[in-house]
């Protein structure tokens, strides 16, 4: 319960600081100006209230992006018994990270482990390994492991050698083979390393656990977008994970213990931070087709 409290408190603090910043405004000039918010709403604001947005400079952004959130240790738990292949996670992710339709930071795969075993859907984000094969091989330190466990990319530094793609056993990485989606729209926008946007031609991209949203105290996009309660996300140091659909918070260790969680291809020694709960007692029947992907 203690952990529940601290997460709740963080939420309240976040909310109240937002409110207080609004109520601070006292002077009004009467001149109104129309603005489009980031969520697409048209609003009217008094001119006096306008001040430059608090955007860190590129180098500042890269610096804090490399360091990560102090004291945190992010983990994700994916409940395979709940996934019905709704693909809302994939959609949300592609919008957030400005990806082309064929680029996936998270990909819902149709799996069948052996010939006669039950097929199931498996959402597959980057595993944010604690022994990441990808960061090891990067010649320029463009992909790196942060303090809080997230494996990030700096696409201002990436040289596009694609060694990390070859090194990743989870096929988690994508490359910008052409100009990225909506390249013209985002031209001149300052690069945000924690969302890896705008994407850049000739560089790598991959799942970042929505590090920009984590900094704002929000859950990753895929976790929040899921309608079926598949994802749990949280901090291993706090031993708490929150479900993106039900917003229920529970003990991380208890969740993985009671449900016999496993990590993907643990025999490779990559030590993933993404845990899977086995597809037992399925909430939805499997309706996909298993394609023979190996020939």
């Amino acid at each position: 319960m203690k952990t529940l409290g601290s997460i709740g408190a963080a939420g309240v603090v976040g909310g109240s600081s937002f409110l207080s910043s609004c109520s601070k405004v006292q002077t009004t000039s009467g001149d109104k100006i129309r603005l489009l918010t980031s969520s697409g709403e048209l609003v009217e604001v008094d001119k006096e209230q306008l001040k430059p947005a608090d955007m860190p400079s590129l180098t500042e952004n890269q610096k804090r992006g490399r360091k990560g959130l102090p004291g945190r240790s992010w983990v994700m738990v994916i409940d395979l018994s709940k996934c019905r292949n709704a693909r809302e996670c994939m959609k949300g992710c592609q919008n957030h990270h400005q990806l082309r339709p064929e680029q996936h930071h998270i990909n819902v795969l149709q799996m069948q482990d052996a010939e006669h075993t039950a097929p199931y859907y498996m959402p597959k984000p980057c595993q944010h390994c604690d022994n990441p094969p990808c960061t090891k091989v990067c010649p320029v330190n463009a992909t790196f492991k942060r303090e809080d466990g997230i494996v990030l990319i700096d696409n201002e530094r990436c040289i596009g050698c694609r060694f990390c793609i070859a090194a990743c056993p989870y096929s988690a990485r994508v490359f910008n083979w052409f100009e990225p989606r909506d390249a013209e729209k985002y031209e001149g926008v300052t690069y945000n390393i924690e969302a890896n946007v705008p994407q850049k031609k000739g560089t790598i991209s991959k799942c970042l656990f929505s590090a920009d949203r984590l900094r704002d105290g929000k859950l990753p996009t895929c976790v929040s977008s899921c309608p079926n309660g598949v994802y749990w996300f949280g901090d291993r140091n706090e031993n708490a994970v929150t479900n993106g659909t039900t917003k229920e918070t529970t003990s991380f260790s208890k969740l993985i213990k009671e449900n016999a969680a496993y990590t993907l291809m643990e025999e490779l020694g990559t030590k993933p931070r993404v845990y899977y709960l086995p597809p037992k007692d399925r909430a939805f029947p499997f309706q996909g087709e298993i394609e023979d992907h190996h020939s």
Binding site: M90, E102, Q103, H104, N107, V108, L109, Q110, M111, K124, P133, K136, V137, C138, P139, V140, N141, A142, R157, C158, I159, G160, C161, R162, F163, I165, A166, A167, P169, Y170, S171, R173, V174, F175, N176, W177, F178, E179, K201, G202, T203, M265, L268, T270, E291, H293, H294, S295
Partner: protein
């Protein structure tokens, strides 16, 4: 070494040797012009392809997120492999005092320089952001095998150029002093400049021998590293097909096969074109044939280990990879490469007849092509079969086939390599004159005496 001759005989012989070995420098006919035109035209087409690739992105190639290394990387490995012959012929055999290889060592160095220089260029052409090449030096992380590769490739290129240049200095001086009027004036100027005021004193020769010996020793570990490290680009990953411990020696053995075949082809071209039958003798081809059989056998041994051992066990992912090579999509390439690049050449070259110049050259052409194909099926099949299924992507993500841009850029690399070899052959004697003359019993004093 033959016993010394009288000064008169020596001078006459030296004049003949110099005349024969400068034929490549003097000769300029329609064929030369056509050859240059051919090479430069195709190289230019390739550069145009690279321009399009930089403009539109690496998406103009057949590579996608799963098969993210394609023909460029296969070609890179091929060129690194070919370059290794410099290490074997002009250093290892030299140090072992195996004399027959001496006249071939400059050919081997030409091939090595051209191949390793192009390997460096190809890798830049494969980059998504070649404009950020300097990041490798600014932000270089020494834990990445790419950094090791950059280090050894540049070191190997430097040592190979020095190993080409230093034994060349006495030759340059000889041409400066004794060169005929047929040699274009600008070339003579280059010789004078590059000869660095060589006088031919005993002390100077001592320095040359000393430098050559140091370079030959230095190139041994560097040469071995260059291809071992290149194999580690693959072996350092977890992918089935690459994740094996013998990849280093397997690559090195394969490199000797490719390089020896390339040297035989170049040797034959010089022998025919510049009328050098008395220099690249049947005996040299016979020995090169024997050398090729030997390295092929070593490579065959590694192939058996590389394929038979995992095929015995057929672990899930390895099994998929091996089935794909033995009976699947890549089986035609796999069996053609093994048969025409390894097994048949070994059987044929065991007979004396097939070690004669022409048959050996034809065999070498097959071996060289098979070596290229072999690199292709080392790189691509592994990437087509990752551990997790390839889903929710367009069909062309699932199977790789190179595009015309990739073919153009690959052609560029071949043309540029041939151009480097041609320019070196047209600029400098293809055999070290002073070393050759000395072996024929001509005294050093006669070699360095000025023209009378």
């Amino acid at each position: 070494m033959e016993k010394s001759k009288s000064p008169e005989e020596s001078r006459k012989l030296l004049d003949k040797i110099t005349f024969d070995l400068t034929r490549s420098i003097v000769k300029r006919d329609e064929l030369t012009n056509f050859w240059y035109f051919f090479l430069i035209m195709f190289a230019a087409v390739g550069l145009w392809g690279w321009f399009i690739q930089i403009r539109d992105g690496l998406g103009v190639t057949g590579m996608r997120d799963y098969v993210s290394w394609g023909m460029y990387i296969a070609n890179f490995v091929f060129f690194v492999a070919v370059s290794l012959i410099g290490f074997l012929l002009s250093s290892a055999l030299h140090l072992l005092k195996i004399n027959w290889a001496k006249p071939i060592s400059r050919v081997a160095e030409q091939v090595a320089i051209a191949a390793v220089a192009l390997a460096g260029i190809i890798i830049v052409m494969d980059m998504g952001r070649p404009d950020r090449l300097l990041n490798v030096f600014i932000h270089g992380r020494f834990a990445s095998p790419i950094l090791w590769d950059v280090t050894v490739v540049t070191t190997y290129l430097t040592i190979s150029i020095l190993l080409f240049y230093i034994p060349l200095i006495p030759d340059l001086a000889l041409l400066r002093d004794k060169g005929t009027d047929d040699i274009p004036k600008w070339k003579m100027k280059v010789y004078t400049l590059l000869a660095l005021g060589w006088k031919g004193s005993a002390e100077q020769y001592k320095l040359v021998y000393h430098a050559m010996r140091i370079l030959m020793l230095l190139i041994l570990p560097v040469g071995l590293s260059i291809h071992t490290v290149t194999s580690w680009l693959f072996a350092a990953t977890l992918r089935s097909g690459w994740d094996t411990t013998i990849l280093g020696p397997y690559f090195v053995a394969g490199a000797f096969v490719a390089g020896a075949a390339a040297v035989v082809i170049v040797m034959y071209a010089y022998r025919q074109r510049y009328n050098l039958k008395d220099y690249f003798e049947d005996l040299h081809f016979d020995y090169m044939g024997k050398l090729l059989v030997f390295v092929c056998l070593v490579y065959l041994y590694f192939n058996i280990n590389e394929f038979l051992v995992p095929a015995y066990k057929m672990k899930t992912a390895e099994g998929i990879h091996l089935r794909n090579l033995f009976t699947g999509n890549f089986s035609v390439m796999f069996w053609l490469a093994q048969t025409f690049g390894l097994i048949l050449p070994i059987l044929l070259m065991l007979c004396k007849y097939f070690r004669k110049p022409l048959p050996l050259t034809i065999i070498s052409v097959f071996v060289l092509i098979a070596s290229w194909v072999k690199r292709y099926i080392i790189v691509i099949p592994t990437l087509e079969h990752p551990f997790l299924p390839v889903q929710n992507v367009p069909d062309h993500f699932k199977h790789y086939s190179p595009t015309s841009i990739e073919v153009m850029i690959t052609l560029f690399s071949f043309m540029a390599a041939l151009l480097i070899i041609t320019v070196l052959a047209k600029m400098f004697p293809v055999i070290t004159i002073w070393e050759y003359a000395e072996d024929k019993g001509i005294e050093k004093e006669i070699i360095s005496e000025p023209k009378n």
